[in-house]
Symmetry: C2
Subunit: 224 residues, 2 copies
């Protein structure tokens, strides 16, 4: 049986592929691995059956069946799942030990350095938009994201990918940067915009994107 | 030559071991590996020599020399460095593939699910304390951290560690939770407080803590 991941039945990104299942879909496609998807409503994400898989009540999860010799496996962090797919299959991490460690370093940089201020800015849009202080806060949040984008842009320079060939590190960094695609923040850094486009041009990305979009469209109420 | 990491010459945590070099020191001690430390001023962290190692101008970094056969290696994300130490040496990850993937899942959970709201709350203390809205914001930040603590507390339950034996996942989770140690937030979850204490009771933790404290004390101006 192929591994099973979970995603939103009704993604708040309206099919733009910003939700974290997209990272897994993309990794599966790069590795050439079949997978199945189970879609969850927001209510289902908070039910005991899902909390047993994901203690924080979110998507995605990853489940693989046991074999005669090995137990089954459940994971729930997108970074860990992408690494697990990369370690089980080819196409996402270099062979050489040092290059492999540096690619993994970029996975963590995407998730622990770049994504937190981007998510914080996104969350403020949901929770503080009606507050009197929102304008001043948004400027602070923008400045924090801009600092990281500037640092990343300087490191990337004119290179195609962050460290040699395309790797799981680029897959994760492009996925994180896509959360602010179309924003004025990214427009200041043409090399980052081109980097994202380079990721999106990969056939594996496109197959993954089309699959999540099809799931979103299929779950739409008629005429929505 | 042992690997070299960087830390703060004058840690803003005043020797409490909350800075990210502590995670590396702890991992080295668990693995029984010697290491050297280079301490940096805040000015040095933004100089080209350091930015060549760490594009975001922070600590820690990790450098290991090349051998005749392999190039040297530089890493800069605490999660990637702890995983690298764990993969090169024993003591931090289980042997069995599934258990190993689950331990790595907890490293990512610490860094991508638990740490961001904790860091956001900490950052607000520096950047928004004088703002008129700080009280209302702090309540929102506390609620977000509390939600994650509650979910983590339920998952941990009465277990000693997050998944079987102590692993790099616990090392990272305890390190992240220590950022709010002593706060009213943690006091609501006695099993998490006990979990942190269990981590701190490990001899490897104590050696790492003493080493960073000694570095802090040595760098103090006389009489401070």
């Amino acid at each position: 049986m192929p591994p099973v991941i979970t995603g939103f039945a009704h993604s708040p990104d309206r099919g733009r592929g910003h939700a974290r299942d997209m990272r897994l879909r993309w990794a599966f496609e790069e590795a050439g691995v079949d997978y199945d998807v189970r879609l969850l409503s927001f209510a289902q994400m908070k039910e005991p059956a899902h909390l047993a898989l994901h203690p924080f009540g979110q998507i995605p999860t990853y489940e693989e069946d046991g074999t005669g010799e090995e137990e089954g496996l459940t994971l729930f962090e997108s970074g860990a799942i992408v690494l697990h797919i990369a370690e089980r299959h080819g196409g996402l991490l270099p062979e050489e030990a040092g290059a492999r460690a540096r690619a993994i370093n970029w996975v963590f940089a995407a998730l622990n350095t770049m994504e937190p201020p981007i998510v914080e800015r996104e969350a403020a849009g949901y929770t503080e938009r009606e507050k009197s202080w929102y304008g001043e806060r948004l400027a602070m949040l923008d400045a924090r994201v801009d600092q990281r984008l500037g640092e990343l842009s300087r490191r990337l320079g004119e290179a195609d990918w962050l460290d040699g060939a395309f790797s799981a590190g680029d897959l994760m960094m492009v996925s994180v940067l896509r959360r602010i695609e179309g924003s004025a923040l990214l427009a200041r850094y043409p090399n980052l915009t081109a980097y994202i486009a380079r990721g999106q041009a990969r056939p594996a990305y496109q197959r993954a994107f089309d699959a999540q979009r099809a799931a979103f469209e299929a779950a739409r109420p008629d005429g929505a």
